[in-house]
Symmetry: C2
Subunit: 198 residues, 2 copies
DNA sequence: GGGTAGTTCCTAATGGTATTAGGATCGGGG
DNA sequence: CCCCGATCCTAATACCATTAGGAACTACCC
């Protein structure tokens, strides 16, 4: 009788595949057990409970995303880095929608404290340093860029852009350009705004 | 024997309360039935199934949100309208987090086709008209503004800003200002960008 | 006024989910 | 060679959604 080779890592990886295929809500211990040809309770040897499994997928996603972003902005700065940063996100959502979904929720303490979470903040900071933004402004800018990309990708994912023209693709480029515009003029924004009002 | 006064509307309203209190995932037919002092199957008289109940909450949320936005931008334009538009969203998330959550997902066809969905698009358009943006650009601008606000509010909701300073509140103002900057310079953005490069 | 039809709630039953308890089986180390 | 721990199993409990079919109440019609 050959015992299936289960592992915490394998279980979480399978969960991530299920998420990408059928949505994060379909990540269920029963489904994963079935896919391994194993009974549900057997999974409890490798994973504390369903919440831990889901948090594991979140940490996996954070890791993979951080690596992609790192690769995408390596050796680039300014606009090029921003484009790479965005493309890394968008590519990840397209290839791994379920894992991305796992990031759009309150995660458990383990996931929040994961090194990968800090890593993503760090690479984002690196992009903004290229624009000469530092101090508290960098936090604001990080949040603005993160919000815009995250929001666009989620709206696109849930189909908000599906029923109108032009294609979301074009709006994505406009979004990146708009972000570049904001970042590039971060420090003279006040001056321009004043000029506008006069 | 006094029968509880159940109604489709009442069931959905109760569902919305449950969502706001315990999260959208806690919206369950069993929980709603309990809160009415009624057995679960009794709800099927008023609601087709769980999915229909959830879609009902989504439509309710769309309606309430559209009304708030309408009130917030009435008689305003430009920056003031943008501030009101944002405040309407942010206030709604704060007061009704579960209903907001109901908007962050693939909704059923009924919900997508709801008049309220079009109404929100319309009021957003009204804000952008104040900036003199029209045609395809207005679609792009709508998506950019929607993405940024939506993304910020979701990241704030899932706690992404909770573990760093400064307070999210400040970043929110920066975000609104950045959006105003983008919208106000929508048409001379190309010129400014060129100047920047020279 | 009494029967009747429709509405609304009920109980009963099925099947899917997570989770715990405790038993069997296989491997490696004394 | 035997024991022990790891890994998987079966059995059981407790939720959940959903369907089938019965009872009671309301309103209406004759």
């Amino acid at each position: 009788m050959d015992r299936p080779q289960l592992t915490r890592t394998a279980v979480i990886a399978r969960g991530a595949e299920v998420a990408d295929t059928s949505g994060f809500d379909s990540v269920t211990l029963a489904a994963i057990a079935r896919s391994f040809g194993v009974r549900t309770p057997s999974l409890y040897t490798h994973v504390r409970d369903l919440a831990a499994l889901r948090d594991g997928i979140t940490v996996l996603a954070l890791d993979e995303l951080a690596e992609r972003i790192g690769d995408a902005i390596a050796g680039r700065s300014g606009y090029d880095a921003l484009v790479g940063f965005g493309a890394a996100h968008r590519g990840y959502v397209e290839e791994h929608p379920g894992r991305w979904e796992s990031l759009q929720r309150h995660a458990g303490a383990d996931a929040v404290a994961a090194p990968a979470a800090r890593r993503i903040v760090r690479v984002t900071d690196a992009v903004l340093l290229g624009y000469g933004i530092s101090g508290e402004d960098r936090t604001h800018a990080t949040r603005i860029v993160g919000s815009a990309l995250n929001g666009f990708l989620n709206l696109e994912r849930i189909g908000s852009f599906a029923h109108s023209t032009p294609r979301a693709e074009q709006s994505w480029h406009e979004l990146i350009d708009a972000l570049h515009f904001v970042l590039a003029h971060w420090h003279d924004r006040e001056r321009l705004r004043t000029k506008e009002r006069s």
